[in-house]
Symmetry: C2
Subunit: 407 residues, 2 copies
């Protein structure tokens, strides 16, 4: 498996485009389209929030009832959540406008929205935008990159990746793009993520792989503990690679799974690192846990702690906060067995041994926390399971961005 | 029932003192004592964190095994959490020093600590301090106030209150003090709270009342979602009021319960309003919920949302964030039935009707959020239960305080 260029356009048959529809932002692209020349099986995972945005309801129907799709239309600026029947009407008309322009059915068009909740979308701009996007479609790394930039809100940079691998002698490509960066505590969460592949795989196996990959990738990141109304992760597979169709958990499935996991892990880590106001990626590995679920819960508790996040921002090796966060996670463990390490690059420092301070050098620990990628490792000495969660520091800019988001 | 002066010294027989022991802070009081001239029944609720500070383990033993106490010794600056056997030794020797100086048993002395986790306490300063505190005891509003100030960490002001009421023809007093203000997400949580009363009540009924009162007071506040290793709420009742002993849930119990609830609610709201960096108290009332537990969960979810907190700080009526927080609380409800209001003082503004924006005036809403006490009311239209949660806004100063706490 090797990394290649092209993001969502890396896989055969996929095109992308972006335009400035001036929905809410001015002077930047705010609508994007991804389109496959041939039909795709579609899989998806969606927000667990009881309050679901109109496009989420639409996409769930497309994925769960039809199971196939041809295109995705995404807008930023307004989330189309808490918009009632008027919001659902905009989704329908946008899908119809795209369908007409693309010569497909409206039920094959997925819709994604991100931005302010509660505001109505300008319907004409969306439908006109869908038409313009269809005309602008192109299969190139540049088009993929422009689409990845168009779906950003408070993200500071685009997130895209693609890998290629061999499956049964055929070259298969898996690429993706996503956006963060606030209201990020996926279970699914507004993250939007789109993965495209030319692998030939059944819809059932694609959904199985996606649902499984999400658990240890997008669902292990947290920026602020808020689970959005709009979180959506879509995978589209058009089969153009010509590999023998994957319809069981065989070796081909495992190979595909590895690539899908790599794409999602890359995007998830990028989203955590680019959390609103963040200056650092925080990675918490919990090992020696009694169950996999315990390991995940413990790691996410550390990543989710405002006090841990603020301490890492301040380069303060205040390890009691990590231990405290493990303690209120809901998982039972013996605090007097816990060891903790900080790691940056190859350098590892024992901070806590058997639940109390190891007598480490404060300056050394503080220097390590000044890195832009801080790893916290907790060994529970309670079993053999491990998990990794990804988050970011809590900064003045998070407050600034979210204290005045709508203006 | 009327409010009176005197805090923890309001009840007959209770004295207090404070000294500067220079445990970590310089130039301010950092140890406090509360003492009852006659034996007290003791009740307590403690942190649910798996990682429990040494004084918490000590106090749990005193309260749950002995059920009576004479004194409380509190220090600030260092939490005595994650300090192993050495930390427990400091608790024992501090309790012994206080016991000798007071002429009571060490098993009757409760200990409370708050501050940095993982640092060892200077044992001699603690034991010497306990002796000095015993000598300085006094029954006066001034002594109570000084004790309330001595237990503060990042609090900006002391929190104390007292009420007096009639029970069976006798005047009974209930007073208390507490400190916040970070790592506050009580379930019990570092909040430390001490309630003193001269009511005559059995230990069992005191514990019952305290455990019940906590649910809708201290456990309904959140500053940052972190549940401390040290959270402790203690109630001491010495019976000096001479009322007929309360040993069942009769009318006297109800009267006492009302006063205890008033004391705890006052302290809890003060703690929320004085959360680290906070400029405003946010009060979220959820009504029309299907169960009491749902109402509590929904209200706490709103109060706990970083995005809600930042929006309130920025006076941004971004109500989608409140609705979103209700949605990911874990409680099922119909988003299209939810109404939401902002309230400040007597002024109420309908923001959301049936899950979508009401068309309210943005400037008016923003002006309301500029108040130092913002009320958010969500009506779920799903039943008759309600609950209120208390929190505060998320500000630059929260980040500042917690990015550099230990220096």
């Amino acid at each position: 498996m090797k990394e290649i260029k092209g993001g969502v356009c890396a896989a055969l048959g996929f095109k992308a485009s972006a335009i400035a529809a001036e929905i809410k932002y001015r002077g930047r692209d705010d609508m994007a389209m991804v389109y496959s020349e041939s039909p795709c099986v579609a899989a998806g995972t969606f927000t667990t929030n009881v309050v679901k945005a109109a496009p989420v309801k639409w996409d769930m129907k497309v994925v769960h009832e039809r199971g196939s799709a041809r295109a995705v239309v995404v807008n930023t600026g307004i989330a189309n959540a808490c918009t009632g029947e008027e919001g659902m009407q905009v989704v329908r008309s946008t899908a119809e406008a795209a369908a007409v322009a693309l010569g497909v059915e409206s039920g094959e068009v997925l819709i994604g929205s991100t931005g302010v909740i509660g505001m109505q979308l300008p319907e004409e701009k969306l439908t006109a935008g869908a038409g313009s996007l269809a005309k602008a479609l192109e299969r190139s790394p540049e088009a993929a990159n422009r689409a990845a930039r168009a779906i950003m809100t408070t993200d500071t940079h685009e997130k895209e990746i693609a890998y290629e691998l061999e499956i049964g002698g055929k070259t298969v490509r898996v690429g993706g793009m996503s956006k963060g960066s606030g209201m990020i505590h996926p279970n699914m969460c507004t993250m939007l993520g789109y993965v495209t592949t030319d692998a030939c795989i059944s819809g059932e196996m694609l959904q199985k792989a996606l649902s499984s990959v999400v658990v240890d990738t997008f669902n292990m990141i947290s920026v602020d503990g808020d689970t959005s109304t709009n979180d959506t992760l879509i995978a589209l597979a058009n089969g153009l690679a010509g590999n023998e169709r994957i319809d069981s958990e065989n070796a081909d499935y495992e190979a595909f799974y590895g690539a899908l996991n790599a794409v999602c892990l890359h995007l998830a880590k990028e989203m955590a690192a680019d959390g609103e106001g963040a200056t650092k990626l925080i990675e918490c590995t919990v090992r020696g846990a009694d169950t996999k679920e315990s390991a995940r819960t413990l790691a996410k508790s550390v990543i989710g702690s405002s006090l841990v996040k603020a301490a890492v921002y301040g380069c303060d090796a205040n390890w009691g906060r990590e231990l405290c966060a493990l303690g209120y996670s809901g998982v039972m463990f013996d605090p007097e067995k816990v060891d903790m390490y900080f790691r940056t690059g190859d350098h590892e420092l024992l901070i806590v041994r058997n639940g109390i301070g190891s007598g480490y050098d404060e300056e050394e620990a503080s220097r390590m926390l000044a890195s832009d990628h801080v790893e916290i490792i907790a060994d529970m000495h309670a079993g053999d399971e491990s998990a990794v969660a990804y988050g970011c520091d809590l900064t003045y800019d998070y407050v600034k961005i979210n204290g005045d988001y709508r203006s």
